[in-house]
Amino acid sequence: MDRGPVSRWSRAKRPAARPAERSRTRESIGPIGQRTASSRRVGRRTAAPAGRGVCAALAIFFLVSPASAHKLNVFAVVEGKTIRGEAYFRGGGPARGAAVTAVGPRGEKLGETTTGDEGKFSLEVRFRSDHRLVVDAGGGHAGEYRVAADEMPKELPAPDGSPNLADERPAAADSAPGDPAPAESVPARSDATASLEALRVQVVKLREDLDGFRGEARFRDVIGGIGYIVGAMGLVLYVVARRRIRDA
């Protein structure tokens, strides 16, 4: 594994090495002046393809949209006994026809539906428990959102026993069993629903803004990521170098 003596030997005994090897050995052990000279020569010789490569890279950068329409965002609220939500890709497009699955705290399936043309979906709540809404748009694109049990009306039964998906009771029958806690007064309800809808629109907007902000913060992340990789490289090289010094 010890390369040092080998390459020094090759430089001394074989001056007519192949160009690639020569330039590399000089880069590795030659004085600084020589190294810059050789790399400049390499640069000039390959100026045309390098320029073409840079142009291609620039073209790709300008062709593509900066926004990542890749990440799937899910948002949902509970209205009465219905979970209403929507799923949209970061960048704005709705996720049409995506499969929505509600999963309970113990991994049991609580309900299934698909999103409509505008990426909206609604799901009847049958049990008062945490709902994890997983939206799968296919091809590995998915997002999830958690609806807490305390957002749901108290008259719903807790998920005792094993909740069964085949158990398709109509939502209206749900209030009968369990504890018959009186619902809120009926006239106040429509008002509340209207303001809830307005609130929902605002929250969705806020989330979109937040996503936009995250997108902007990305440049720093990229630089940071490359820094981490360089750091990991340094760590590996340090360990290898130590081992070699110890072995020598």
């Binding site: 390959t46 699955t101 296919g138 091809g139």
Partner: protein, 217 residues
């Protein structure tokens, strides 16, 4: 090409896939580290960085978008060392950019690194051919095949997790065809560039004893 963890954590089959992905990736990473010539650590890091950044280059495509992956290029140059390179890049993409997830890191590494190793076996020799046309063609094929094989693995994973077959085929395979073409050109350009500037970069990184690796360049 990143699988979000939400897709697989809701079904037992998905859980099995996640575990299997981790196991197989661990084997691949172990092989890659064992066979990696430590003179090439900087190269591995550079390609890992390229892979990390490439996923941010998005190409809009209808309602969704696809992005460059560069697993063909990474594999063509690194061979088995593509496994550790891709694992690190995916880990950072997860932590910093929110792609994929921690549990699906294993299966994602497998889906992208396995085609990379296949590409190495198929095209590394051809990419070092004397004729430029052959090298360009093999570079293109390497880039395109890296994506196509990756998409096929992704589709197989989604199918095994319970997605309907025609939906998987439509969303995964068709969506990746344009990116396969783009990636073919990018990889071919990179190969031509490497041939001119650093031909030794394309020489087998595995099983090549130090000092002898230039002998068949």
């Amino acid at each position: 090409m990143h699988i979000e963890e939400a897709v697989l954590t809701i079904s037992p089959a998905g859980m099995a896939i996640l575990a299997g992905g981790w196991g197989l990736s661990a084997i691949g990473v172990g092989l890659g580290l064992r066979r990696m010539d430590y003179e090439r650590v900087p190269q591995v890091a550079m390609l890992s960085s390229a892979f990390f950044v490439a996923s941010l280059i998005h190409v809009p495509l209808g309602f969704t978008s696809v992005h460059l992956v560069l697993n063909g290029l990474v594999g063509l140059v690194l061979g088995w060392a593509a496994f550790p390179a891709i694992l690190i890049a995916l880990l950072l993409q997860m932590l910093l950019l929110g792609f994929g997830g921690l549990t699906s890191l294993g299966i994602n590494t497998l889906v992208m690194a396995l085609p990379a190793v296949a590409v190495y076996g198929l095209f590394n020799r051809a990419a070092r051919a004397k004729r430029d046309a052959v090298a360009f063609g093999s570079g293109f094929a390497a880039g395109a095949l890296g994506i196509v094989l990756g998409a096929a693995l992704l589709a197989a994973t989604m199918f095994a997790a319970g997605d309907a077959l025609e939906r998987v085929a439509q969303v995964v395979l068709v969506a990746h065809l344009p990116v396969a073409v783009i990636e073919g050109f990018v990889t071919a350009a990179a190969v031509m560039f490497l041939r001119k500037v650093r031909p030794e970069a394309l020489v087998a990184p595995l099983a090549a004893p130090a000092g002898l690796e230039l002998s068949d360049g």
